[in-house]
C-alpha cells in the first residue's frame, strides 16, 4: 500500500507549489491513475514516491514504512519505474537494458537470461529477434514496451509508470493497454500510472486521481468520476457524451450483478420453477459443481415441462456470455448479437460470475445522462 500524507513540493525559486498538500492512498494490488493537464504535478508526485525528489513537506508511506527512513537505493530496487522519456540506455542491448535491476540485485546470469526472455514475450517482442538489438533499432512503441519490461524485470511489488504508452499510435496504444490489463489481472501489482488521456485513465484505473495545479481535485473510481464529477473542471475533463463513454469504458467487472439464482443440472423442474419465481431475472442459470455455466432456462421452457424432468434436460446452450474484463459496450453488442435481454458474465475458467441485463445497463447509463 502506498500512502501520501499532506505531501507538498515547492521547487527552489518558485512560489507556486508543484504539488500541494496531496493526500492519496493506493491499496495493495490496485491501479491508481493520475490524470491532469500538463504541469499539474503528476511526474513530481511519482518522483517523490521513489525519492528522486524529496518532498518539501508531508510523508510518504509504503506498507506503513515512512520512505524517508529507507535507503533510497533499496527503496527504488523494489519499485519499478517507467520514466516519461523512456530513458533506455542507448549503448546497451535490449536484453542488457531489461537486465538492469536484476543485475544490480546480483541475480545469476542464467536466471537473468530466462527472465529477460520471459519479459520480452510478455510485452509481445520476440526474444529471438529483439534480445540483441540496440534501442535505436526499435520503433517508439517497441521502446516503450522495453521500458515497461525493464521496470518489471525484478518483479517489484510496486510500479510507477509515467505515461508508459505516451509515444504510441492509437492502435498500438489500445493493444498495449489491453495487454497491460491482462498482465495486471495476473500480477496484482500496486501501480501508479500517469496519463494525460482521460479515456486511458478510465480504462486502466481501479481509481483515478484528478490533479490540477498540484492539488488533488477528485479521487474516485472511474464509474463515480463519470457519474459524479466533483466540479466543472472534472466534468470538462471527462467530457461530453459521458453516457456513451461509460458504455465504452466501464468494465463489466465493476458493475456485474453477482447475486443470481442458479440451479444444478440434476435439480427437478419444480425447483427451477421455484427459483425462477423468486428471482427478478427472466432466466435461470444452470451451473455444475465447479460453478461452470452449463446452460440457461427461460420461462417458455418452464411452462412447457413439468414433473419428472430435470433442469439439465430442458436447459439450452447459453451463447450470450461475456468475460469480466470486457466493457459494457461489449456486453451490449453481445446482447444485440444474440437477441437476448441479458448477458451471462463468466470468469477466466468459464465459471459463472453474474449477469448484466439490458434494463440494468440502460439504468446505468440513464443515471449518468444528466
Amino acid at each position: 500500500m502506498i500512502k501520501l500524507e499532506n505531501v507538498t513540493k515547492i521547487f527552489p525559486g518558485s512560489k507556486q507549489p508543484a504539488v500541494d498538500r496531496l493526500n492519496l492512498e493506493v491499496p495493495e494490488g490496485e491501479v491508481c491513475v493520475l490524470v491532469g493537464p500538463s504541469g499539474c504535478g503528476k511526474t513530481t508526485t511519482m518522483k517523490m514516491i521513489n525519492r528522486l525528489i524529496e518532498p518539501s513537506e508531508g510523508k510518504i508511506y509504503i506498507n506503513g514504512t515512512d520512505t524517508a527512513t529507507v535507503n533510497p537505493i533499496k527503496l527504488r530496487l523494489d519499485i519499478g519505474y517507467v520514466i516519461q522519456e523512456i530513458g533506455l540506455f542507448p549503448h546497451l542491448t535490449i536484453a542488457e537494458n531489461i537486465a538492469t535491476v536484476p543485475r544490480e540485485k546480483r541475480w545469476p546470469a542464467d536466471r537473468i537470461r530466462a527472465r529477460v526472455d520471459e519479459l520480452l514475450d510478455l510485452v509481445g517482442l520476440d526474444p529471438e529477434i529483439y534480445r540483441n538489438r540496440k534501442p535505436s533499432d526499435l520503433s517508439g512503441g517497441q521502446r516503450q514496451r522495453v521500458g515497461v519490461a525493464r521496470a518489471m524485470a525484478a518483479d517489484p511489488p510496486i510500479l510507477l509508470m509515467d505515461e508508459p504508452f505516451g509515444a504510441v499510435d492509437p492502435i498500438t496504444r489500445a493493444h498495449l493497454q489491453n495487454e497491460f490489463i491482462r498482465i495486471q489481472e495476473q500480477m496484482k501489482k500496486t501501480i501508479i500510472f500517469v496519463t494525460h488521456d482521460i479515456d486511458e485513465a478510465i480504462k486502466m484505473g481501479d481509481k483515478i486521481a484528478v490533479m490540477r495545479d498540484g492539488k488533488l481535485i477528485q479521487y474516485d473510481t472511474p464509474d463515480n468520476l463519470l457519474s459524479q464529477p466533483a466540479d466543472d473542471f472534472v466534468a470538462a475533463l471527462v467530457g461530453r457524451n459521458r453516457s456513451i463513454k461509460r458504455l465504452h469504458l466501464i468494465k463489466v467487472r465493476d458493475v456485474v450483478l453477482n447475486e443470481i439464482p442458479t440451479v444444478k443440472p440434476l435439480d427437478p423442474v419444480d425447483t427451477v420453477k421455484q427459483v425462477f419465481e423468486g428471482s427478478k431475472y427472466r432466466v435461470v442459470m444452470v451451473v455444475n459443481d465447479a460453478h461452470r455455466l452449463m446452460g440457461v432456462i427461460g420461462p417458455e421452457k418452464l411452462k412447457r415441462y413439468g414433473d419428472g424432468v430435470t433442469a439439465g434436460d430442458i436447459m439450452e446452450e447459453c451463447q450470450s456470455t461475456i468475460e469480466l474484463g470486457a466493457t459494457l459496450n461489449d456486453a451490449l453488442s453481445v446482447m444485440l448479437n444474440y437477441g437476448e435481454r441479458y448477458v451471462a458474465v463468466l470468469g477466466r475458467k468459464k465459471e459463472l460470475q453474474g449477469i448484466i441485463t439490458l434494463g440494468y445497463l440502460l439504468e446505468l447509463v440513464k443515471d449518468d445522462a444528466a
Partner: protein, 210 residues
C-alpha cells in the same frame, strides 16, 4: 634545399633517428598514460560539483597558456634535469583536453537516461561504470587524441632540458647550423603525430559506431 643531400643524411642517421623516436614515443606514452588516469578521475570528480568544475577547468586552461619552455623551466627546481620534468610537463599539458572532454562527455548525456538509471535503483558506482563512462567514451577518446597529438609536438622541446627524444635532432641542428638535422627531427615528429592521430581516430570511430 637539397633533397638528395637530406635523404643521404637521413639514411646515415637512421639508427640514431629510430632510437630518438623510441625515446620520444616512450616519453609521450608514459605522460599520456598518467594523464589519462589523472584526467579522467578529475573529469569525473568535477561532474559532482559545479564550483570544482569551474576551478579545475580554469586551472587547466591557465596551464595551457604557459609557454612550454617556461613550464620546463618552472618545473626544473622540483624534478631536476631530464626525463621526470619532461613527463610532468607533458602531463600538465594533456590534462585540459582530457579533463574537459571527460566532463562534457558525462554532462552531455541525456538526463532522462541518468534519471532512469537512478530511478531504478542503480548505485552511483554502477551508473558511472555502466552508463556514464561508456556513453562518454567517444568524447573522452577524442580528448585523449587531441592531447596525444599535442604533446608529441611539445615533447620535442623536452630535449632541451635533457629528456631525450626527437627534439635532440632539432636543438643540435640549430646549434650546429645543420638544417638537415633540424628537418629530420621535425619531419619525424610530424609523421609520428600524423600516424598516432590516424590510429586513434580509428579507435574513436569504432567506439561511436559500436
Amino acid at each position: 634545399m637539397d633533397f638528395q643531400g637530406f635523404w643521404t643524411f637521413a639514411v646515415n642517421r637512421s639508427e640514431k633517428a629510430w632510437a630518438l623516436l623510441g625515446e620520444h614515443a616512450v616519453l609521450v606514452f608514459i605522460a599520456i598514460a598518467i594523464a589519462i588516469i589523472l584526467g579522467i578521475i578529475i573529469g569525473i570528480l568535477i561532474t559532482y560539483s559545479k564550483p570544482a568544475s569551474h576551478a579545475a577547468l580554469w586551472i587547466c586552461q591557465i596551464l595551457m597558456t604557459i609557454p612550454s619552455l617556461a613550464m620546463f623551466g618552472l618545473l626544473l627546481p622540483f624534478f631536476g634535469i631530464g626525463f621526470k620534468t619532461g613527463v610532468t610537463t607533458l602531463i600538465l599539458y594533456s590534462l585540459l583536453p582530457i579533463v574537459r572532454n571527460t566532463y562534457t562527455g558525462i554532462k552531455e548525456i541525456d538526463p532522462s537516461i541518468l534519471e532512469a538509471a537512478q530511478g531504478m535503483g542503480m548505485k552511483e558506482s554502477s551508473i558511472l561504470f555502466r552508463i556514464k563512462l561508456p556513453l562518454a567514451a567517444p568524447v573522452i577518446m577524442a580528448g585523449v587524441r587531441t592531447a596525444t597529438v599535442m604533446i608529441i609536438g611539445i615533447a620535442a622541446i623536452a630535449s632541451y632540458i635533457g629528456a631525450g627524444g626527437l627534439g635532440h635532432f632539432i636543438f643540435q641542428g640549430i646549434n650546429r647550423w645543420n638544417m638537415n638535422m633540424v628537418l629530420l627531427g621535425a619531419i619525424a615528429v610530424s609523421i609520428l603525430a600524423i600516424i598516432v592521430d590516424f590510429l586513434m581516430k580509428k579507435v574513436e570511430h569504432r567506439m561511436v559506431t559500436k
